[in-house]
Assembly symmetry: C2
Homo-oligomer: 407 residues x 2
């Protein structure tokens, strides 16, 4: 195994009272998102940047009964060679992993710097949360998915989104002229990343927010055609839902989801320089409880928290041809709908929320399975880990079905 | 009433998606601790600076039964003229107020920008929390209160604390040469405030932590004599407990207090530039639950969470003569013990944790009363509000005793 790694690279960072200066991690010097510091920072984001909490409400946490299965004996078969369970976890820089079958925790582990009560960055899995909020506002009649974006955000009238619909944004089918030249500090991608508050501003520059940068992006090509996964779209969508609902995202998430899933903890959000919510962080079990809400199509006990039709629609999937044109080798026969990645497999669909550096939430309705997973990998792109994580998901699915049956 | 004010000065700050630039509040530009911004910031500290959470544990919250008393009809008698209840609340910039009698909430209100689920800065009330942690470590034999400080923190051997004992620090009886010239940006007080992370570093200067600044302070006069309330002492004490216990303060507070009081929420801490915990923020009800732990002398239900002897000792009070020499006009017959202010009144003692801009926690064991109060006043010194807040406490005490009896 050439890519097997121990999961303790974070040892020594931020230890001691005070930590030695050379082992401190700060946001301001850029070390926040360096590796191996990331192994620590992704478990401790609140300690490095401002955050805004999503209130869990006053109700009791909903228990996740524990019913362990010996998944650690699994062998992960893959084209590139089989992996032992530990090899699969370590070589993919796993921080923690929770497998729920019929709402019972059949496997749960915390490695490296992770712990059950620490909130871990979920990165772009947040998109799928905003997708649910948008769908919920659509069902409430607050947002018309076919309305052009500027009917809600007039600031974007002259931008790429001037003639895009809300649905185009939700399904990442916006024709956007977005220069991703990482070698040019003034490229669209760097200007955009800075305005999200994920990295510090350039020295001497004032931090500006997405509302200052998004209006400068232009259209290229057509909307509603090819799937094109571009970060600015999610910032447009989360801006849209806040403006339309006249509420901070944390309130929308708390009121519509978080207060109803029996979360043990508040989750929280990083903030952009203008105070808008960006990346959330949450505990693994609460990540799993959110997945459980998707599995049950919005039902918690005898309450329908979100309309089941939202989930029916997303589980139906998006346009597979539009998705295929984007060329994701590791995701054949997938599609994308309302900020969820949809896997079309063996006549069923499974949903995945995917986030950089190895975050995912996977929901297999047929097999009554939720897999929640945090990581802190060396490289950002999710597809780089698919060759380990997707076979791991499949090995888990087969084993759980064999041991506990599927419906 | 010349000092009556409406409590909505924060209106318009940080509102909108995004908020208009001139109504944003940031830590980096110093507006964090300006007024009226403070009316917002003290309820939203996590959104402005990094914080570290104190885990509440997995147990259920302990209910605070509600049994309302019409305190809002009270008239507050004072030498400077009587106040109506609303006048007393508004003129002291009250954010929220909770009165517990025998563990029941007889009064609870949230004004201005406050809300039940928001964590409010408690400022120097944190000292009293660290005092309990120190006492707890003393009872466990981890800290010897009579040991010189450098036996635990050798870094301070050549400083003012070189020959001070832990007890001297706990009781604020350290002879410290501390230049409080607020007009000189290089004075001890400014150097110290900057190292605590309560204000941004000077332009072009790197932020340094208390471990870099405390060793530079010199001794003046004798230890163990007069009460001298100086901020650096609490940073020495919290450094002491972390180093002695080899644990972050958040872990000590969680393990020894927060997991046992039935807190509804995690509390959190601001951080100094080196990552050490400084000011906590917590919800009002959890502030009250902490007070309830003090009232019951460390007992929660049938569990003795902290040794009762800790509270016996603190309720006995400190040296009143040593306290009197400090000249607090508003606090006659008070004393100070283990980071608690002790009011000697009518043959009993009441404890108060006091924090800048109007935070306090007041515990009257004889009357079975806990009063938890958050504010965001214009001026920092607690004594400036005593002329309103102490008569308010007394009016509450009398009324509750009359209506519900005292033991």
């Amino acid at each position: 195994m050439d890519d097997t790694r121990v999961t303790t690279e974070a040892d020594g960072w931020m230890r001691g009272f005070p930590p030695p200066p050379e082992r401190r991690i700060r946001f301001s010097d850029g070390s926040f998102n360096e590796w191996p510091q990331r192994r620590w920072t992704y478990n401790h984001v609140e300690e490095l940047v401002p955050t805004r909490a999503v209130w869990r409400g006053r109700g009791p946490a909903i228990a996740l009964p524990v019913s362990p299965l010996p998944l650690d004996g699994l062998r992960i078969d893959r084209a590139a060679g089989a992996l032992s369970w530990d090899e699969a976890l370590e070589s993919s820089y796993t921080d923690s992993l929770l497998v729920l079958h019929r709402g019972e925790a059949v496997y749960e582990t915390y490695l490296a710097e992770s712990a059950p009560h620490l909130r871990h960055l979920i990165m772009s899995c947040s998109k799928s949360m905003v997708g649910l909020i948008a769908e919920s506002l659509i069902r409430d009649g607050v947002i018309d998915p076919l309305a052009p974006v500027p009917t809600i955000l007039p600031e974007l009238a002259a931008s790429a989104w001037g003639d895009a619909t809300v649905r185009d944004v939700m399904d990442m089918r916006v024709g956007l002229d977005y220069d991703e030249d990482y070698t040019d500090p003034d490229s669209d991608v760097w200007r955009f990343i800075r305005c999200t508050g994920m990295i510090p501003p350039l020295p001497g520059q004032e931090a500006i927010g997405p509302a200052d940068v998004l209006p400068t992006f232009n259209k290229r090509g057509e909307h509603g055609q090819e799937f094109s996964y571009q970060e600015p779209n999610i910032f447009v969508l989360s801006w849209l839902v806040r403006r339309a609902a006249q509420a901070p995202l944390v309130e929308l998430v708390s009121d519509r989801i978080w207060q109803h899933i029996g979360a043990e903890h508040d989750c929280t959000h990083m903030l952009d320089p203008s105070g808008g919510e960006t990346m959330p962080a949450m505990t693994l079990r609460d990540f799993g409880r959110w997945g459980q809400l998707v599995l049950t199509r919005g039902r918690v006990g005898d309450r329908q928290v979100l309309p089941a039709e939202i989930f029916d629609d997303i589980f139906q999937g998006g346009d597979q041809a539009a998705f295929a044109s984007a060329g994701y080798d590791t995701l054949p026969d997938w599609s994308y709908r309302s900020q969820w990645w949809v896997r079309h497999i063996d006549g069923r669909t499974c949903l995945q929320a995917r986030g950089a550096y190895g975050q995912f939430l996977y929901i297999d309705q047929v097999n009554e399975l939720v897999i929640a997973r945090f990581g802190s990998a060396k490289e950002a792109p999710s597809y780089l880990l698919d060759h380990i994580l997707l076979p791991t998901i499949d090995a888990i699915t087969d084993f759980v079905a064999k041991e506990r049956g599927s419906s």
